[in-house]
Symmetry: C2
Subunit: 182 residues, 2 copies
Amino acid sequence: LLNHSLLLLDGFIVRCVPSRQSRRGTVVALQFPGEFVDLHAFPLKRLDHDVVSLSETTVAIIEHEALSDLISGDPELARKLWLMTLVDASIHRHWVMRNSAMRALARVANFLAEYDARVTAAHGAERDSFPMALRQSDIADATGLTAVHVSRTLRDLREDGCCTLSSGMLTLDNRARLHDVG
Amino acid sequence: LLNHSLLLLDGFIVRCVPSRQSRRGTVVALQFPGEFVDLHAFPLKRLDHDVVSLSETTVAIIEHEALSDLISGDPELARKLWLMTLVDASIHRHWVMRNSAMRALARVANFLAEYDARVTAAHGAERDSFPMALRQSDIADATGLTAVHVSRTLRDLREDGCCTLSSGMLTLDNRARLHDVG
DNA sequence: CGCCCTTTTGAGGAAGCTCAATTACAGTGG
DNA sequence: CCACTGTAATTGAGCTTCCTCAAAAGGGCG
């Protein structure tokens, strides 16, 4: 039973639901700096998944009592907090579609494009090369593929001139083509 | 831009996000009587997916203005409405896991088990046989399989003694085994 | 240098897809 | 009552995609 939520200030976090596929389970969400990790625990009071940090992280712990006090005097803020959880849900729907209806190449490309878009939003400026917190096996857990096949798929994307993932850095060699593929 | 939300009173509705796989796109959510279809349009003011009825339906149209009036005087109600959208999100996460980490047999079994659980909740009493609003091609759109393979998978479940889907009726020949498989 | 973790590559196999034909079934009109 | 039609379900054959297992190659760090 939770009485606080986490706001991610720095680092990178994934949310996982248990499954037999991987030791850690399936990755169902990414969280970038500036995002709430488990705001839904505020009305829900419990968590139906695990929270895993993949790097050094800094978080703000926000007591639910404090949130209650804040929104009781500000219905507009309440609306905004609700909206943040709805954006989460919208992304979930996209993930269902991606992992159900796209083949490996498009799936990984689309995943990396989402990562790009969100890291850009968190960082404030578009870059053609930036740190990627996920290893290939993490991408596998998030896309429903095996690590081996992710490796092959990344090679295809690299040879296509889309992007290069190497030693923790993702380089977008051709953002337009990546978006096209994914 | 929406200024109202739908409460499903009777019938059956699916929510779809566009994809190239199927004409209608990927089914990302089921809605049973008693559930809000698009409550998230209240804070969000727009819809990022399609709403499709698969049967005759009766809905209540709820103006957002009315919702605003209601919750302004009742913070507890606001909390409950928020919670309903969070349950939706939790189910989304389960769908991501199911369609990413489960094989066809377990995937379809789990899907039918969810359908069973939710139709039971909506109907008020457990039954071993009840109407199934989805055709095999709809199940395919919801599980990320092809209609042909759903057909084969249902045959396997039938021969396993789990359940039988025939002419719009789903019969649970062995609920325990179905849960076990899925 | 040696160790551990991650990535890459190969070969073979299994799961699921595609295409195509057949069957079942309900509705419709003669 | 029976052909005729259109939709949904089933079945088969061949193929593609992805998985599994196993081994090799990098790469960072003690």
